[in-house]
Structure formats: structure tokens, C-alpha cells
Amino acid sequence: MDYTKQIQDIAGRLFSEGKIDIFIGYRNTGFDENQVPVLIHQYKDVDQLLFTDKSVFNLANYLKYEHTRNKRVGLIVKGCDSRALNLMLTESQVKRENLYIIGIACEGVVNETGEKAQNCVECMMPDAVVYDELLGSATGKREYQVNADIRELDEKTLTDRVEYFEEIFENCIRCNACRHSCPLCYCAKCCIDQETATLFHGANTTSSAFHALMTWSLHLAGRCVDCRNCEKACPIHLPLHLLHKLNEKVIYENFQEHLAGMTEGDRGAFYKYSLSDPDDFIL
């Protein structure tokens, strides 16, 4: 998967036609084969741009910062990224008319070790769902499948799960990188930083980490697009996707919904209801 050429051309065109102020893409770090997201402001920089299966980071994230607000932005989105973008549009965080979106029919990106990332292996919608032009050939929606790790953990006993997760929450250093790298965590001030939380969960203790991560995952329930920005950002490499995938599973099994942000206007499972929702868990 390499669209470097096409993307450089498009970005060049957009700049020369004066259609955009900023183009958000990827460039090489210059130190290793990893890539840095880059915000380009002028035509002469477009040759930095590239797009390969190492273009991992979800660029929609950059639309939540002051320096892109109300600017005309061109950006590259893979399948998952585009659904995050769709949610941002639905939740009116960005204006569609300000965006020029290059959608990618994604073939999956690779992780540090060079093999295809888990979320790409399990990806249910690799094609961009919102775009001005699409690169690659769309392969369409795939069947829902339960995440491998979730299936594994579900078989564990309660006490085993307790041990497993305590490990996770103890190791969390509460740098909040997960939150900051999530395109859907765009709040002006995160509830975790507000008095209602800091008065009781201000320290970086395990219990606070638990509180923060649980709240976070519940705020993303039915919205998470599984781009795994959070997991890549986590310096401790905590398997944060577990929380989201579990929510996804529960929501799929009970409300027959998955793939957040497929259509603009869909806010996710928590913001609607059906009279026939399961009631049997209630006394």
C-alpha cells in the first residue's frame, strides 16, 4: 500500500489551486522507518509527504487543535480515521466545507514488529466512508467478529481477569496520552481534569487510573472507531483496546450496533434507545 505519488500530486494541486491552507499528512522521521504526521502550509513542502503501510497515526486527531480550527484543511484518512472524522462532523467539531478529504481504501497498517496490526486484521470497514476522493479500490464492509483478546479473556475466570487488569491499572502512569491522541477526545476540558474528578481522583494512583480509564472508555462506548491511536500513544503499551472492544461487543450483542461513525448523523448507541432493548438484567 503506497499512495505517496498520488497524495503529493493531490496536495500540490490543492495548494496551487488555493483550495487549502493546511495539508495534514505523513513524512519520514529521518531517523528510522517510522513516520511523523506533518502539517504542511505551502506548496514547496509537499514532496515531504508519503503514505505507506507505516502511516499509522489517525490524522483526524489534528482537527481538534486551535491551529486547524476554521482553516481549510486537506487530510488523509484511512477507513477507521474517516469514521472518527464522521463522528467529529456529526458532533459538529469540524465543518465539512472546510475539509478536503483524501480517503484511503486501506489494506491495513503494520505495527512495530512489521506485521499487520491486530485492528487491521480484524478491521470491519477498511474503506474511507467520507472523502472527496478515494485512493485504492473499496472492498466494502465485513462481518462483525469478536476481538481475539476479548474472546480469550472471556474464557478466563473472574479472579484471573482481576489479576490481569490490576496489572494494567497499576502500570498506568496517567500521562493521559491515550486521551490526547484520541480524535474523539476533543473536550475543552476533560471531565477527568475537572474539580468533580480531581477532588477525589487527582493523584496518579492505581484507583485514579482505574477511574480515569473506565470513564474514558465509557465516554467512547459506541463511538470508538478502533484506530488504536490510544494504544500506540501509551508509553507503557497497555492493551487499552480491550476496554473499547468489550464495549463494542456488548453494544453489538445487545443493541445490534457496531462500526461507529459509518453515516453522518449517527451519534452512537448511547444517544438513542429502542423499546425492545434487553431488560432481563434488571430486577
Binding site: T29, G30, F31, D32, N34, Q35, V36, P37, V38, L39, H41, F57, N61, Y62, Y65, E66, H67, E167, N171, I173, R174, C175, N176, A177, H180, S181, K189, D193, T198, L199, F200, H201, G202, A203, N204, T205, S208, N229, K232, A233, P235, I236, H237, L238, P239
Partner: protein, 349 residues
Amino acid sequence: MKLTTYSTDQAGLQAFYEAIIRAHDTYGPVEKFGKFDFKKVNSLSECDPESPIPRTMSVKPLFFPKSAKVMKYTATSAGTELSDTAEDPLAGKRVILGVKHCDARGLQVLDAVYKWDYIDTDYEKRRENTILISPRCDQAATHCFCTSLDYDLETLDAVDVAVINGADRKIYLQARTEKGETFLKENATGLTSANGSAEAEMKKQYETFAASFRLKMNYQEINERMQGQFDSPTFEEVPSSCVSCNTCAFVCPTCHCFKISDEKIRDKGVRYKSYDSCNNVYFTLMAGGHNPRPVKYRRWRQRAMHKFVYYKERFGVNLCIGCGKCTTSCPVNISIFEVVTKVASSMQE
């Protein structure tokens, strides 16, 4: 001072480590979620002192933990009584294996601020009671540039005991401090004394190591140039891809910003001291609502300038030690090396 040196082979070293683990509270780099992190160990099999650089975390958390109790209190109508927290788990005598030299340098740099006008007794105690055993690196990793930041053979006093893989396939253990000296002597069983003979080997090893660096900077020059760079426009563009995720500060061996927070339930409360980061928007938010660093590039500037200028001005040492941990952990792979060199070089343009 005269440095005691012993030599041994791989098996001997393992035995040495095992002996230590048996005899002392020992910490070592333990693999967690595919990354190394310092944890208490009870057998050598749990940890890998030779684990490759870079590691996620430095040894900093063992001296300045992510969250530590400052005090406890009980608030009733009778008044508020303070009570001390339980025994500090990190204050006891202990040995840390597999400390990278950069980690140790980090602590050395931190000493300057912790032993400055106010002496942080907790920190001091932890430092005093700890022996750092440090295998010397043979190969620089992608983002390492410690050699550019006054790390050379002479300033090895950051570690107590250095472990050196000689080019002659021997492994040398050398005390670098008095603490190390006594410790090494106490635990020398099974080691052959090799005073003097090690120096040449060490030099060779160091040279090959130094040669393996891809990143090099002229620190003096950078430092001087940066001083005039406060208003450099480069600061505004370079970190535009930063997502202010704070990771860099949390993994940095020398970042030492913290916040104080209470957790009160019913009438009992605990006061904590926890990591904070200057990349955090609310880090500089004042009670009145004014925030001098509301935008990302200003926070970034603060970070870079603090690392390469301010700290040096104040304490005479550079705050950044070139370990490359921030770059390794950065979700968007921003390299502080790249940023500062860019900024410094931007002056000529």
C-alpha cells in the same frame, strides 16, 4: 580516587547478580507489555539486566514515583489532625540492576534541583540507600545522543558499579563511587581482582560505543544559540504535529514537575504528590484564569528551553541527557534532537 575493578565472565556475572538478588532488596528491568520497566525482583530469571535500550521508563520512578503520599489527615469538628504516611517503600537499602548510564545521569541531574534551596529528604534518603549497578552500553539506539551531552569516560560517577564488556571477552566490574567501592568489596565473592588492567579495555569499548552514534550535536554551540532563540518562529512550526500527550515528560529521566492533590473520603484524607507535565494545557493555568502558555508551541518552547538552556543556567548541568526515551515513546515520533538542532540552526537563516 582509586577504583577497585574485578573481572569475570558471563557466568560469573550471572552468579554475581544472583548473589545480590539473594542478599539485597533488588530491582531490575522487568518486561511488561513488551517494554522494560524497573520492578522489584526475587530471582534473576524475572529480569534482564542486559536488556536492550531504549526502555520505556528510566529508574526515576524508584526515586520520584508517579504518585507518592505526602501526608494523611482527619478533619472533624474537633479540628484537623495530620498524621504521617506509612513507611516509604522506596526508602530502604536496595540495589538496582541494569541501570543504563543515562538513567543514572538523569538522577545525577535531578540531585541538583532536589538538593537545591529545599532539600527533599525523601528523595535524598532513597538516593543514599540505593546502589546503582550499570552495564555499559555497547551499541547506541536510534534516538540516543548521550555522547553529545557531556557523557564520557571521566564522568562515570553517576553509577556506583559499572559493568563493562571488555573487547577481550572479559566482563569488568568497576566501582565508581565510595558507596560502590564498599558494596563491590562486600559482594566480590567469585570475582577476580583486575585493578588497572581494565582501563585500556574500557577505553576501546567506549570508543566503539561512541562510534555507533548516528545522532551527534555540538552541545556548546546548541546551548549558546538556543539562548537567543526564545522568539524563534521555528518553535511555532516544528511541534505542530505534537498532540500534547505528556508522554515525553512522564518517561523522561529528568522531568520533575509534580502536582499536589488530596483524596478525601468521609473525614479522612490523603495528600499525594504526582507527576505532572508542562505539556499539559492546565499546567500553567492560574487561579485568576490567566494562562501564559495556552498554545502548544509555547509549551513546547518551554520544554525545549528548559531542557537545553534554563536548567544549565541555574544548575550548571544540562537537563536533557540525550537518552531518547521521549522520542521513542512519542506517539507521533517527534524527536527532541531534531527540534533543538532545527531551532538552533534556524538562527543563521
